[in-house]
């Protein structure tokens, strides 16, 4: 316990100073959320590269939570779905159902190139399409995998902070 306390004292603040707020516009549906976005993450068929980056976007260094975004356990609690990966055939229906389970107003964020346009998996036999083919996408975050900064940047567009 003392060791932990010493560590807390020596390490101090890990979070990097917040970069400038994103220049581009907020998706229209996000305005009603007014600075609080609960996020449910859906892995629709990702290689888990994107997940690692999402994990670090919410880690202490990038601290996505400081902008009012928070990961939650149920789509009922969520305002936005963070979908990663190409949508495989097995995940197409669950993705639709997850989208249906979110109370309005709701947003979908496609994270990573796979989610945007099938990326490296385009044309593979098990792929049902990009996220946009299954549910309406409000925001795309490019990259394979996208850097945590890009993810945080995308989240800030939603929260507007």
């Amino acid at each position: 316990m003392l060791r932990l306390w010493r560590k807390i004292r020596t390490v101090g603040r890990v979070a990097e100073p917040a970069p400038l707020p994103p220049a581009t516009d907020q998706p229209p549906a996000a305005a009603a959320l007014a600075g609080s976005v609960q996020i449910r993450h859906v892995d629709a068929g990702s290689c888990n590269g994107c997940e690692v980056e999402i994990g670090s976007a919410f880690g202490p260094v990038y601290d996505g939570e400081r902008y009012g975004a928070r990961l939650v356990a149920s789509p009922r609690h969520a305002d936005a779905l963070l979908v990663t990966g190409v949508v495989t055939r097995n995940m197409a229906e669950p993705l639709r159902r997850t989208f249906e389970a979110v109370p309005a107003p709701k947003l979908v964020v496609a994270v990573g190139d796979c989610a945007r346009n099938c990326g490296v998996f385009a044309g593979a036999y098990g792929v049902a399409g990009a996220v946009g083919d299954i549910v309406p996408v409000d925001l795309e975050i490019a990259g394979c995998p996208p850097r945590p900064e890009a993810i945080v940047d995308g989240l800030r567009k939603l929260t507007g902070r």
Partner: protein, 668 residues
């Protein structure tokens, strides 16, 4: 003839006539139902009159050889007569359509029900040991006949009946011996003579009388360790009989204890009441623990009866402790709490058993693991059981909440009155009552949540239908009683205080706010309920105004995006109780059985896993089985004597008579 006498006479006459009518009239169910209601209502009137001070004495010397029968009604007896009558009213209405089932329509079964009510009404009205014992035995016999009503269809019923028959008669024997010892000292069997002679009784004799009576009455009230019959007989009896037994008959155990302990013996030394208190505390915790593990709806209710009677005995024991240390205010408070709990328990247990009967009627099962999803198909029964569960779990605004509050007040204020014994007993009693309250909440959340909400877990539950209107009306009567007792206990408190006069002074006053007299303490169940309702309504209004999306959207359950969820994925009563069972592993010692079936090809592939859990009654196992085994061995040995030869049997008789004559010759 005053109101009490007329009422009681009417109750008896109507009951007997109904029984006779049931034997001849074809539309038995309706006749018996109406007759029971009328008889119960008359008894209620008589009881209320007695509580308000009207009294009478009738001597019927011709009815019983040697001693005759003597009846009277005082406030204490009146309370129990009124409670029994009220339960009979609800049960009678309910029975009109409930007893249409083939097994229950039988002439004998129908005729016995009103007689059972009459016997129960007469027990608290008896004013001599002879009359008391006769009525007590009649009550036991009639209830036994009703318990075994469905023995043709289900073999368990017969076993339950045997347990009940043996234990209730052992209890009777104990009371009989106790009272006879008492009567032998007094020289006359009327209660007034007993009361007068109590002062001259040596402590040893008084102790023997009290302990014997306590044993007998505790066995009737289902107190640990004499409770074994209760979770057997109550669930196996038809549900309206379960209600009568659980809500009215067990009370008479308490009545007997109060009558003999406080009234006839005039209180006693500390150890008597410590014994009562400890028995009560153990029963309360043990009963509710068993109920928390139970997956059988009616068995659970039966075990909760043990719990509630335990709480009542805690109150009675505390009252005795206070009375023996001369503090009549606290003694009155504790006894009022105990008696209020008796009344409240009668109301909610009637409601719960009738609702359980309605479920059984509609689904044919009492296994909670197979129930569920009854809310859409049986809305009234669900509401009734919900109200009963709230009343039973000591949550505001519920019925048991008020009486448990009073009980805890009595225990809390016990400090100034305490000797060393009380200083040990009170904290333990407080802890037991608190633990019981906590476990009761979990138990009734399980019973209501698993049994009635969510999705049906079997075809039987899915095909359920609401019960006929008289059954619902019977539940409605009990529900109204629960609500009145929960919100306005002041309605019944004057009567209860009059009854509690045997031990102490009146202790509670006030209509809206219950105020304790003599010690500080106030509680207002009405204001509490009102505050809750106002808060809920105000909140609903605020949310309506503030929220921008006005419509509720229907959506499928969140099933993690996979296929639809089947009822097999739901939590069952067994799984609900599993964490609690682990917590109390050492106490309940459940028997687990896990069977794993493997695939033929590989031992590493599992085809099916079967999990079974049984929570045996440990006390029963440790205490009863050795006794039963011993009795069985004696029986085996005894068979040597019974060879079947008539000569030999005549010889036994001859030798016995000779032996007795010799004995007399020597001793005289």
């Amino acid at each position: 003839m005053n109101l009490a006498a007329t009422g009681l006479a009417c109750a008896v006459a109507i009951g007997v006539l109904t029984a006779l009518a049931a034997l001849v009239v074809p539309a038995r169910s309706a006749v018996v139902g109406v007759g029971t209601v009328l008889s119960g209502a008359a008894a209620m009137l008589a009881g209320c009159a007695a509580m308000s001070g009207v009294s009478f004495v009738v001597a019927l010397p011709a009815l019983l050889p040697l001693s005759g029968m003597l009846f009277t009604l005082d406030a204490l007896g009146g309370l129990f007569v009124a409670v029994t009558g009220a339960v009979a009213v609800a049960v009678g209405v309910y029975g009109i359509s409930y007893t249409r089932a083939p097994d229950l329509r039988a002439r004998g079964v129908q005729a016995v029900l009103p007689l059972f009510v009459v016997a129960m009404v007469l027990v608290p009205a008896a004013a001599s040991a002879g009359a008391f014992l006769v009525c007590w035995e009649l009550m036991a016999l009639f209830s036994l006949l009703l318990v075994v009503a469905e023995h043709r269809r289900r073999p368990e019923v017969a076993s339950a009946g045997r347990w009940y028959a043996v234990m209730t008669h052992l209890g009777f024997l104990s009371v009989l011996i106790g009272l006879m010892v008492f009567v032998a000292r007094a020289g006359d069997d009327s209660f007034s003579a007993l009361r007068d002679s109590a002062r001259h009784l040596s402590p040893l004799v008084a102790g023997v009388v009290f302990v014997l009576a306590l044993l007998g009455f505790a066995s009737k009230a289902g107190i640990v360790p004499l409770h074994a019959w209760l979770p057997r007989a109550h669930p196996e009896a038809p549900s309206h009989v379960s209600a009568l037994m659980s809500a009215a008959m067990v009370n008479l155990g308490v009545y007997g204890l109060v009558r003999v302990g406080f009234d006839l013996l005039g209180g006693g030394p500390v150890w008597w009441w410590l014994l009562v208190l400890v028995l009560g505390a153990v029963s309360a915790v043990y009963g509710i623990l068993q109920a928390a593990m139970s997956t059988d709806l009616k068995r659970l209710l039966g075990q909760s009866t043990t719990e509630n009677m335990g709480l009542v005995l805690v109150g009675v024991g505390a009252a005795g402790l206070f009375a023996s240390s001369g503090n009549r205010t606290l003694a009155g408070l504790a006894l009022v709490a105990a008696l209020l709990h008796v009344v409240g328990h009668a109301a909610f247990k009637t409601l719960l058993f009738l609702a359980a009967g309605s479920v059984l009627h509609a689904t044919g099962t009492r296994d909670l693991d197979e129930l569920g999803g009854l809310r859409p198909v049986m809305p009234v029964t669900t509401a009734a059981f919900g109200l009963g569960a709230l009343a039973a779990s000591a949550l505001p605004p519920g019925t048991a909440f008020v009486s448990e509050w009073l009980l805890l007040q009595a225990l809390i204020h016990g400090l100034p009155a305490s000797g060393v014994a009380a200083a040990v007993a009170m904290p333990v009693a407080v802890a037991a009552v608190a633990l019981t309250a906590g476990l009761a909440v979990a138990t009734f959340v399980k019973a209501f949540g698993v049994g009635f909400l969510a999705k049906p877990r079997s075809a039987a539950a899915a095909g359920a239908h609401e019960s006929p209107v008289t059954m619902l009306a019977g539940m409605g009567i009990a529900a109204v009683a629960c609500a009145v007792l929960a919100l306005a206990p002041a309605v019944v408190l004057p009567g209860i205080e009059a009854a509690a006069r045997v031990a102490g002074d009146p202790a509670v006053s006030g209509a809206v706010t219950l105020r304790l007299t003599g010690v500080t303490g106030a509680l207002s169940p009405v204001l509490l309920g009102l505050a809750l309702i106002v808060a809920v309504v105000a909140l609903a209004g605020v949310v309506r105004v503030v929220a921008t999306h006005r419509v509720r959207r229907e959506a499928r359950l969140w099933d993690c995006g996979g296929g639809p969820m089947s009822p097999r994925m739901e939590y069952t009563a067994t799984s609900f109780a599993e964490p609690l069972q682990r917590v109390f592993d050492d106490v309940v010692q459940p028997e687990l059985d896990v069977d794993v079936t493997h695939h033929e090809e590989s031992r590493y592939l599992v085809r099916a896993v079967e999990y079974r859990r049984k929570v045996p009654d440990r006390i029963e196992r440790r205490l009863y089985q050795p006794v039963l085994r011993f009795v069985a061995t004696c029986g085996e040995r005894g068979r040597v004597l019974a060879t079947g030869s008539v000569h030999r049997y005549l010889g036994y008789g001859f030798y016995t008579v000779c032996g007795l004559l010799l004995l007399l010759a020597v001793t005289r």
